[in-house]
Amino acid sequence: MTASAIHVAGLTKAFGPVTALDRFDLDVTVGEVHGFLGPNGAGKSTTIRVLLGLLRRDRGEVVVLGGDPWDDAVALHRRLAYVPGEVHLWPNLTGGEAIDLLGELRGGLDQRRRAELVERFGLDPTRRCSTYSKGNRQKVAIVSAFASRVELYLLDEPTSGLDPLMDTVFQACVREVTAEGGTVLLSSHVLAEVEALGDRVTIIRDGRTVESGTLAELRHLTRTSIAVETLRPLDGLADLAGLHDVAVDGVHARFEVEPEALGAVQRWLADREVVALTSSPPTLQQLFLRHYGERLTDAEVADAPEDVS
């Protein structure tokens, strides 16, 4: 059994009448990059703040690196680093000062790594924080976090202000710290980011866990997209079980197929002599849309009931 870095079970947190987290579950294993996905306001930041002991849980079990985030906050904070989604810094300190201050208070910085990260992120550490853009403030928090040699990194939408180039640098950093044995909890609504980095994913919606597992596991729950061309006509394809969104045009067809029906479809197609076939695994995007799709559909139905094309 692999060691657990974060174990959350039945976590509930309410702010007055608003329930932010409702019996939420999350398990992060040591050494993995765990994607934490959900739309705005789903409870991602609240979860991370509970994990940091900044918010007190109402109910439920929360274990971070074997300790209680509320009672053992200081001891745990020496072993983890946090990048907030919205980074606020002291306007009259320079970026370099803020990096050092936060790193030092966490228990020390690797100075060589700090210099290297400042270089890679193209950050000017002599500028006052008041003159930084959102992206630059985020870089300060990222550099400070990755320059600390810690076991756990809690990253709350860390790249929301970074440009694509810096995104690449960021992804490289995440791979480096996990290669050294670090664990990363990466909250995001940028699916590509989690897809590129994540080993496992937890999806949160309205404060509840709606899905959790490896990307491979989650894909089993979804459909594979197939585009096919055969020699013989594809009449009757639409009648097969487990197929969706079937579009047949003579010997060309596009459709989506459930995992259980894949074998039967394959055999059926083989009889019709396949000349070209592309199959694409479901993207996280599709997975995501399926989880939040109902809401979208409701809205669409309300807005344009006639639009069924």
């Binding site: 703040r49 940091l52 900044l54 918010l55 007190r56 906050a73 200081v74 001891a75 904070h77 020496r78 946090y82 907030p84 919205e86 980074v87 606020h88 810094l89 002291w90 306007p91 009259n92 300190l93 320079t94 370099g96 000062e97 803020a98 990096i99 050092d100 201050l101 936060l102 030092e104 208070l105 966490r106 228990g107 550490p125 002599t126 500028r127 006052r128 008041s130 003159t131 928090a141 809690l154």
Partner: protein
């Protein structure tokens, strides 16, 4: 703007530009009024109550002309009364009311105006909300115009309430109207000053600080001018010296409501408002949203060893405020220390006055009283610094800057304690500096050092427990009632100021006076130094701080 040499082609676009620069002002004004819908009415009502209590009290104390003449004869030659309250111009009920209360009301109206202007300009820029608003159809000058109109409106309301209260007490309509307009004028004038500091300073905090310093300077200039003034031949009126005329608060008093009604003084306010507002609008063109006039320079690429601890950060964040308050206190204490000589010289030249003050004791004790008066005032100022310093904790929390800090290995009590330590040590330093400055200036002016010098220092430092208690109340509020902490902290400062300045005048019962921690400070050197009240205050400070610390440890960090 329009000059004969300009062609219509050139003036036409600038005219439309002038209009568009104010676009959106009514909407912004409504937004600002809505956001201040509780705060400003509380200010107006509270100031109205102070006026009401003052006029009721004075009407009771000085009901007859004989009583009022006796009061005027005692106050007119008193350097202390002139410096701390104001000049007297007549023996009517209204005139005495103006003498006793106008200075303090001016300071309060000034603070209200300054904070309103800065709150809706620089503070909005710092939170980023101004950017959002500025991107909409809002002219360049609209936010400042809306903020000024709001501050003007609040001062107008204070003036109107004052007029109503004075009329209700049956005071002459002319004097009442003038007094209300003069008070409004002070508010408008400081709103104009804040409009300028909001353009010049590097931050909202700095803008408030600069404008606050201007209020302090205005109060100080008129204190000097009034102290150096001469008693009129009638013996019941004072002709202030020229420094009083450099101060808007001085103008308000020199308007002589109920004692000659110099209506033309309103013209000074009009000129000052027009000048300051015009200057502020000009400055607006020369800076970017979110920054002051001075460009922000580069700084060190890495943190010094001193910064790498919660205490180091707390000092760094409080440093500017500590230095600013210290400079103001040293200046005020030094200047009043230098006037202290007048107290002696004054009594030496006039046998009659020595008799008159016989009830207060000999000349030695008069100087003692002067020191007590001055230090009580300065101690409340240090208390205001302490509250501001402690509320910085809440500011850090609300702005989200506390979050990354408390996500490091800094325990919450340690973070709170770091700021409380800086505030406590800085308060001690300020009181010590004020005492030393007062004693040194007094020594230089009179040549009297020795035990007198010690009196100054002891009179200052003895107030430390009361200052700490006030700051600790703010700390308890940050822990227990975070959303109310700013109101509680500044409310406590306001109560301490009003009770300290007006408590004796209003003849309030002792239990009301006891609410202020400063009431319990032994009046050294005119009284013996008693340790018990100081120890009780220290215990209260420790208890309140501990309550704040424990409560903060137990609650959510909230933005």
């Amino acid at each position: 703007m329009t000059t004969g040499t300009r062609s219509p082609r050139r003036t036409a676009p600038s005219a439309t530009a002038g209009g568009s620069e104010l676009a959106g002002t009514p909407r912004l004004l409504r937004l600002a009024a809505r956001r201040d819908r509780f705060l400003l009415p509380i200010w107006v009502v509270a100031l109205g109550l102070v006026v009401l209590a003052s006029v009721a009290s004075i009407a009771g104390l000085y009901g007859t002309e004989a009583e009022r003449v006796q009061y005027a004869v005692a106050v007119a030659p008193s350097v202390i009364a002139r410096a701390f309250e104001g000049p007297i111009f007549g023996t009517s009920l209204g005139a005495i009311l103006v003498t006793e209360t106008f200075g303090m009301l001016s300071v309060l109206v000034g603070i209200m105006s300054v904070q309103a202007v800065v709150r809706h300009t620089r503070l909005e820029e710092e939170t980023g909300r101004a950017e959002l608003v500025g991107a909409a159809v809002v002219g360049r000058h609209a936010p400042l115009t809306a903020a000024l109109l709001l501050a003007f409106g609040a001062s107008l309301a204070v003036g109107a309430v004052t007029v109503v209260v004075l009329l209700a007490y049956g005071l002459p309509a002319g004097g009442a109207l003038l007094a209300g307009l003069l008070l409004m004028g002070v508010g408008w004038g400081f709103a104009g000053v804040a409009a300028i500091t909001a353009q010049v300073a590097g931050s909202a905090r700095g803008a408030n600080g600069l404008a606050g310093a201007a209020i302090g300077l205005a109060y100080f200039l008129r204190a000097v001018g009034d102290a150096l003034g001469e008693v009129a031949p009638s013996g019941v009126a004072v002709t202030s010296a020229w420094p009083s005329w450099l101060s808007p608060i001085g103008w308000g008093q020199q308007g002589q409501a109920f004692a000659g009604d110099r209506w033309w003084v309103l013209g000074l306010f009009a000129a000052a408002v027009v000048t300051t507002v015009a200057l502020a609008f000009t400055l607006t063109r020369h800076r970017d949203v979110g920054s002051g006039m001075r460009p922000v320079g580069a700084g060190p690429a890495s943190a010094s060893a001193a910064l790498r601890s919660p205490l180091g950060l707390a000092w760094r964040l409080q440093r500017g405020s500590v230095l600013g308050w210290s400079a103001g206190l040293v200046l005020a204490a030094g200047a009043f220390g230098a006037i202290g000589e007048e107290v002696d010289a004054f009594l030496e030249t006039s046998e009659e006055l020595v008799d008159l003050f016989a009830q207060l004791g000999d000349s030695e004790e008069l100087v003692d009283l002067f020191i007590v008066f001055l230090m009580a005032l300065l101690a409340v100022a240090v208390g205001a610094f302490a509250v501001q310093g402690v509320l910085r904790l809440r500011g850090e929390e609300v702005s989200g800057r506390a979050e990354p800090l408390l996500a490091t290995a800094v325990a919450r009590p340690r973070w709170i304690a770091s700021h409380l330590t800086v505030v406590a040590l800085a308060s001690l330093g300020m009181l010590l500096a004020a005492g030393l400055a007062g004693g040194t200036a007094y020594g230089l002016a009179t040549g009297e050092w020795g035990s007198r010098f010690g009196d100054w220092v002891v009179a200052a430092v003895v107030a430390l427990p009361a200052v700490l208690a006030l700051g600790a109340l703010a700390a308890a509020a940050v822990g227990l009632l975070p959303r109310r902490s700013v109101a509680i902290g500044w409310g406590a400062v306001g109560v301490s100021l009003v009770l300290g300045q007006l408590g004796a005048l209003l003849d309030l019962p002792q239990w009301v006076l006891n609410v202020s921690p400063f009431t319990h400070v032994p009046a050294v050197p005119s009284e013996e130094l008693r340790w018990l009240p100081l120890l009780v205050l220290l215990a209260a400070a420790a208890g309140l701080s501990a309550a704040g610390l424990v409560a903060f440890r137990r609650r959510d960090l909230r933005a």
